[in-house]
Symmetry: C2
């Protein structure tokens, strides 16, 4: 069940091109544009992915996996507050580089990559809250929802997430 060499090469090209297009223009980038950038026909894009949404999920889940890894790495950091803040900055950077990351969040809610991300962020949040470094009334979902804002206003978001009255 292995792909023919040319098919595998084209699949790789499509994934790279889609990744770039989505990063630059968001998920509204058209399949034609992706195909053109990949140097393949537009039919080739749809051969591996039955719908455009499937392509988006494939690409974004990959990138979500990378963010989940930084979250898991942050869990190794001893200072819970610094670990949390570091993750928010990393995630904000990832979002800056890749507009599609959270634009396509709804499509990725069911993926194992998103589950892993949420799990890691939940742990970061709980630890930071126990350490008194994070206000108690925010959830992991809230933190993820704040990432786009943190990419433009990191200090405002991080200060706003500290427990009030400290």
């Amino acid at each position: 069940m292995t792909l023919r060499a040319d098919a595998q090469r084209n699949l790789d090209r499509v994934l790279v091109a889609a990744s770039e297009c989505f990063a630059e223009r968001g998920v509204d980038a058209s399949a034609d544009e992706i195909a053109r950038r990949a140097g393949v026909g537009h039919g080739t894009v749809f051969r591996r992915f039955p719908t455009k949404d499937a392509l988006i999920v494939a690409v974004v889940a990959m990138q979500m996996h990378a963010v989940a890894e930084t979250a898991e790495a942050a869990l190794a950091e001893p200072d819970a507050g610094a670990a949390f803040a570091g993750f928010v900055r990393d995630a904000a950077d990832a979002y800056t580089r890749n507009r599609a990351l959270l634009d396509a969040l709804d499509l990725c809610l069911e993926t194992p990559e998103f589950e892993a991300l949420v799990g890691a962020v939940r742990a970061l949040v709980a630890r930071a809250q126990e350490a008194g470094a994070l206000r108690r009334d925010v959830t992991a979902d809230d933190v993820l929802a704040l990432v786009p804002t943190a990419s433009r206003f990191p200090e405002v978001v991080l200060d706003g997430l500290r427990p009030p009255g400290r």
Copy 2:
């Protein structure tokens, strides 16, 4: 140069329908949908507004005017910090009720309504900064950009906007 009675009635209906559609679905609501909701033909929408963007500007500038009025009213409040926070809450509420408000911001940059809004917010920001109630590294544009986030996380944004270390 006054409109015929039926034309005026239809124009009013279109404006109301557009307002509702944009509030619910954002500016992506189609002209057909607006026409249907207004109970008029789709050509009637385009008779008064040469393009869909012109319609968006007409509707959103009206609502921006209302927000500008709350900003100006806040300037009368003696407590600069409370005035600023109150405005942010009001603007966030307006955004919650009307998704189009800032989605269409780019189209409205040139309108007198937006000029008035920015002017009032600039004054609110300057006053709050002088009173030590607002961090110095934010501008009126930043505040407006933060409104959508404030509609979901008002406390986080308001706390984040306070000067650090106080």
